[in-house]
């Protein structure tokens, strides 16, 4: 019998209008308990209005060893940023 309770990752929306943000993890034997634990552990000081949780083993993460090929190619695509385009100062509302 495996008695170690699985690990869950907890995401909390601090107020409406903001996205959920990872706040930490905890152990629980099932979803209901994980939700209650998340409330008891991570919102004791009114830190949230909504909770997402997922069992840690279900998260797929990018591999940091591939960081160069994953993320560096975006570095020279400056044309994706608004400041790349030179416009006259007098132009407004754009």
């Amino acid at each position: 019998m495996e008695n170690n309770w699985p690990l869950w990752e907890i995401f909390i929306r601090s107020k409406n209008g903001l996205s959920h943000k990872h706040v930490g993890s905890l152990h629980a034997s099932d979803e209901e308990m994980a939700m209650q634990n998340a409330r008891d552990v991570y919102t004791r000081r009114s830190e949230g209005v909504s909770i997402w949780l997922v069992e840690s083993k279900h998260i797929t993460a990018s591999n940091p060893d591939n960081g160069d090929s994953m993320f560096d190619p975006a570095n020279d695509k400056v044309y994706r940023h608004p400041t790349f385009y030179d416009l006259p100062e007098e132009l407004k509302h754009i």
């Binding site: 309770w5 905890l26 152990h27 034997s29 308990m33 209650q36 634990n37 008891d40 552990v41």
Partner: protein, 249 residues
């Protein structure tokens, strides 16, 4: 003694004594997350007792503070149900005691939303939010432990044998409760009894365990006649106030 004072004091004592019991778990829970959950519930209960003691003090009109009422009475003046003072035992017993109390408290506070006293309505509204969560927590644990392993089922059955006899008192009114119901301050106990039994049956059904039939019910706590456990609890709780009376802390 004024009946509305006695009635509010009784509600306050219920919350305080159970909160005090539950706080004994702090630092000793079966797993960190549940240690925190139990402390949260205990904090809610002591918080409820403070609001109720303050109101009781006002109703009495003798200038007694929440701490005077919480710490400076003797055993026979406490009006909590016997259930609340029962020792924690193992986690199964704590869970079942909590569940029986939560099921009562949930319906009691729901009914108190209609109380004739505005402050009681305000306390009920705030407390009901807390108790709704407690009831969900304890119900789910009842189901988990009954459904879990042979050992957890056996422990739950043992706890049921020990605690069932203290449940009747929850919904059997004493004089000040009957008067409070008549004046509109309190609640209708026939309804509470029905709702409590429905609630317990519902969760026991989901868990797969039966409510005992019949059986002798203990009573007395609400009238100040307690089990031996209360004296020890009070000795512990009142120690500083008794040893150094009249000090500020």
């Amino acid at each position: 003694m004024d009946t509305s004072f006695a009635y509010i004091l009784h509600l306050a004592d219920n919350a305080l004594i159970l909160g005090q019991r539950l706080s004994e778990w702090c630092g000793h829970g079966p797993i960190l997350e549940q240690d925190m959950a139990m402390t949260n519930i205990s904090l809610d209960l002591v918080g409820q007792s403070r609001s109720l003691f303050q109101l009781a003090g006002e109703l009495e009109g003798k200038g007694r503070s929440e701490d005077d009422l919480a710490f400076m009475r003797v055993e026979i003046d406490y009006k909590n149900c016997l259930l609340a003072e029962q020792p924690n035992g193992d986690f199964a017993k704590t869970i079942l005691r909590q569940f029986f109390y939560d099921a009562f408290s949930f319906h009691n506070y729901t009914a108190l939303l209609q109380s004739s006293n505005e402050q009681v309505r305000a306390i009920a509204e705030k407390s009901l939010k807390e108790v709704t969560y407690h009831l969900k927590w304890s119900s789910e644990w009842v189901i988990r432990l009954v459904d879990g392993t042979e050992e957890s089922l056996l422990r739950m059955k043992t706890a049921l044998l020990e605690l069932w006899t203290f449940t009747g008192e929850l919904y059997t009114p004493v004089d000040y409760e009957i008067k409070a119901a008549e004046s509109g301050l309190g609640v209708d106990f026939d309804k509470i009894k029905t709702l409590w039994l429905e609630e317990v049956n519902k969760v026991f059904d989901m868990a797969g365990i039966k409510v005992p039939v019949g059986g002798w019910m203990q009573k007395g706590g609400k009238k100040g006649i307690h089990t031996e456990h209360l004296g020890f609890l009070l000795a512990d709780m009142q120690y500083l106030q008794r040893t150094y009376p009249g000090q500020k802390w």
